[in-house]
Symmetry: C2
Subunit: 229 residues, 2 copies
C-alpha cells in the first residue's frame, strides 16, 4: 500500500485524494473556515494562501497543535486544542467547515454534525473525508489473494457498527465503523443537504505516476463527502 505518512511529510501534496477534495471546495476568498482535526496545519495555511479570511484549526493532539503553531506565522490562523466529541462553536460563524480523516475516530458523529450545522451560515459547505467503511469494516482489514491470484479485500461485519481496533501506526487505535448510509443519514438528520459523495479512486494519470495506487481501484480507502447547510 502507499504510505499515508506522506501526508505528514509532504502535506496536502502527499495525499493522493487531495485533488479530488480540492475540486469540491468553494472559492475560499474572504471565507471564515473551521478545520476540524487540523493536524500540523497544512490545510489552514493552504486556505489562507488561497484567500481565506480566517482559519480556526482544532485538534485533540497537543503535539500537533504545538507544531502547527511553530510552522505558522499568520495572525488570521488560530490553532486550538479541542476534543471534537465535546466541541462547542459559536453559531453561524463560519463559511466553510473542513475535515480530513478524523471523524472515523468519533463515537458521536451526530453531535458533531449538529454542532457544525449550527456553526455554519446558511448555504455554507461542509467538506470532509473519512476512512471508507469498506476499508474499516473488516475484522482483519487487509488484502487477501484468492485461489486464482486475484487481490481482494475481504469484507465482513459491514452492518455491525461500532469500534474497530487496529494496530496501524500505533497499537490499539480505536476507530468507529459506521455504514456509509449511516454517515449520510446523520448529516441529513442534522439539517444538511448532501451535495457529493466520492468514494475516492486514483485517476489514470495518478496510477501511471504511482503504480502502487492501482490497488485503490479494488476497494475504496477514503470517502469524501460534500454537504451543505
Amino acid at each position: 500500500g502507499y504510505s499515508r505518512l506522506g501526508r505528514s511529510v509532504h502535506g496536502l501534496a502527499g495525499a493522493a485524494e487531495w485533488p479530488a477534495i480540492r475540486a469540491l471546495l468553494p472559492d475560499l476568498a474572504g471565507k471564515r473556515i473551521v478545520d476540524l482535526g487540523c493536524g500540523f496545519g497544512w490545510f489552514a495555511r493552504w486556505a489562507r494562501a488561497h484567500g481565506a479570511a480566517t482559519v480556526l484549526g482544532l485538534d485533540l493532539s497537543q503535539n500537533m497543535i504545538a507544531r502547527a503553531r511553530a510552522d505558522t506565522d499568520d495572525a488570521a490562523i488560530t490553532y486550538r486544542i479541542a476534543d471534537l466529541e465535546r466541541l462547542e462553536l459559536p453559531a453561524a460563524s463560519f463559511d466553510l467547515a473542513y475535515s480530513s480523516l478524523v471523524f472515523h475516530y468519533l463515537e458521536d458523529f451526530g453531535r458533531l454534525a449538529r454542532t457544525v450545522h449550527r456553526a455554519l451560515v446558511p448555504g455554507a459547505p461542509f467538506v470532509f473525508t473519512i476512512e471508507h467503511p469498506i476499508y474499516m469494516a473488516p475484522t482483519r482489514p487487509g488484502w487477501a489473494i484468492d485461489a486464482s491470484g486475484r487481490k481482494t479485500w475481504p469484507v465482513d461485519r459491514y452492518a455491525v457498527e461500532g469500534p474497530r481496533t487496529t494496530d496501524w501506526l500505533a497499537e490499539g487505535v480505536v476507530k468507529q465503523h459506521r455504514r456509509l448510509g449511516t454517515t449520510l443519514n446523520t448529516l441529513i438528520g442534522s439539517g444538511f443537504a448532501i451535495r457529493h459523495v466520492e468514494e475516492w479512486a486514483p485517476t489514470d494519470d495518478q496510477v501511471r505516476q504511482t503504480p502502487a495506487l492501482a490497488e485503490e481501484m479494488e476497494r475504496p480507502m477514503i470517502l469524501i463527502v460534500s454537504a451543505q447547510r
Copy 2:
C-alpha cells in the same frame, strides 16, 4: 444465502427488506404512482390496497406483464411493457416513483433519473432498491472462508464501474456496477434531494426467525434509497 426467489412466490412478504422499504414510503392515499420494473404487480396491488389513486406498472418482460395483468382485477392499475433505458413519461404526473431491484440492470441510470424527476410533482418521493455495489463489484461475487474460519465477501474492482456478468438464475445476466456515490451523485445531478440511504441489514428479530439472514450482516446485498424531487 436466502432465496430471492421468495419474492416471486410470496410477493412483498417474501422480501426480507420489504419492511425497511415500507417504512420509507409516504402515506399512499390518493397518490398517483409509477412502479418502474413492476414484475408480477405485487407492489401495484399492495399500493392500491393502501389507498393509491392509480398505479402505472412498467416492465420490460412481456411474460411478467402478462402475469401481472392476469393476477390483477383493478381498473386503476395499468401495466405496460416498457424499456426503462428509453422510457418516456408525462411531466409532473406522479406523486411517487417506486422501483425494486431493477436499476442495476440499466446502462444509463442518469437518463432514467432525469426522466423520473420530470415525471414527478415537486416534493414527490422516489424510493427504490438496487443490488448494493459491494455485492455487485467483485469479479467473483461469493463468500470466502479465510484461514481463521471467518466468512468474508472478497471485494475487488469496486472503482471499476460498468458491466458485471453473472450466472444467477440465468446464464450471462449483465448487471451494471456503479459505486454507491455514483448513484447518489447521479440523483443529485438530476435535481433530487437525498433523503435516506439504507444499506439494508436484517433486524435481530428477522435473524431469529430466519437464521440464514445472519450473513447479511457481513456485507450488504441491497441498497435502499429515498430521494425527493
